[in-house]
Assembly symmetry: C2
Amino acid sequence: MDAAPRHDTGIRRRSYGGLTEMSGFLLSLAQAHVYAADSANPQIADPGTAQISVLAVIRANPGIRHGELADMLLIKLAYLTKLLKGFEAQGWVHRRSNPSDRRTVELTLTREGEAAVDRLLPALRAQDARRQSGLTPREMAQLKRLLCKYLDIPASATTASGDDAAGSG
Amino acid sequence: MDAAPRHDTGIRRRSYGGLTEMSGFLLSLAQAHVYAADSANPQIADPGTAQISVLAVIRANPGIRHGELADMLLIKLAYLTKLLKGFEAQGWVHRRSNPSDRRTVELTLTREGEAAVDRLLPALRAQDARRQSGLTPREMAQLKRLLCKYLDIPASATTASGDDAAGSG
DNA sequence: CCCCGATCGTTTCCATGTAAATTTTCTGGC
DNA sequence: GCCAGAAAATTTACATGGAAACGATCGGGG
């Protein structure tokens, strides 16, 4: 992992030149850190974290539309279309045209898709839990709370897994 | 006039399906949020935030090598090579071969490169300052502190505002 | 010296994600 | 019914960034 400097001409203190005062820079760096760790985990690298997120949201919101999904995950419809094509080819997602508005498509997971989420999401959770860096559990909780507020999303909207309208149709 | 949904079948509470419990997901979302805002700012969208970061670090560390730079910014050497080629074409960066180790290259900014940083970095800072979301200044400072600790980098040695009294609770 | 392994930078190819334009459908005014 | 405008999804072209393989150089052992 860490190798000693082989021909170092002296300790050189490298500086970020003030970049670390900017939240945007720190978030980019943190996200890169997460990406590196996630893509090194073969359990979740295959579909990728972005794809797992899409599947998880579809499962939590059966019948969701493309636009809502893109809006929640801050990705563009164009890219979502590509992802969903892949998912359909995999047999994980079903697209049903909405008869009351034929522009829209309602997304649901197939049986196989649910099985995939059951396999992938725990692996992703485990990966995330393993990544507690140097933060204490309390600091990690604080970080999550601040990020939720930053993003203007409920801090733990789904912790209680509200089974609203589950399987009612 | 209200832009009310015209044919909504009812208020649908969309859920993230437990994703918001994961720090990695929140960081991805936050970074996407930042990216969207930054790329909408014509003052900094032209070279892009990643490029500005590279220039800022070269300026803060004249003579830095490719590998050190990639290591600090958590990007790969392969991509850094592309960026530096662009910078050289722009006349912003100078590469000097190190005579004591001819594999390595020492990077410095040209006069024009320094001018570019002088123009771009303040714009980036302003963009960042403008993005205080729903967080209070105190919460934003706390977020930065936690991210620095998360990344294991010194927490803004040059922070202008005083240290907070929050402590580590 | 020459070979061999390690390190540094580059090149090539590929995955990820966006922007702009297009298609289809819904809504409202005539 | 028909046309104009808005909204939802798709397609096409492109930018951003990584993975793997490569060439060049250093350093140590025969």
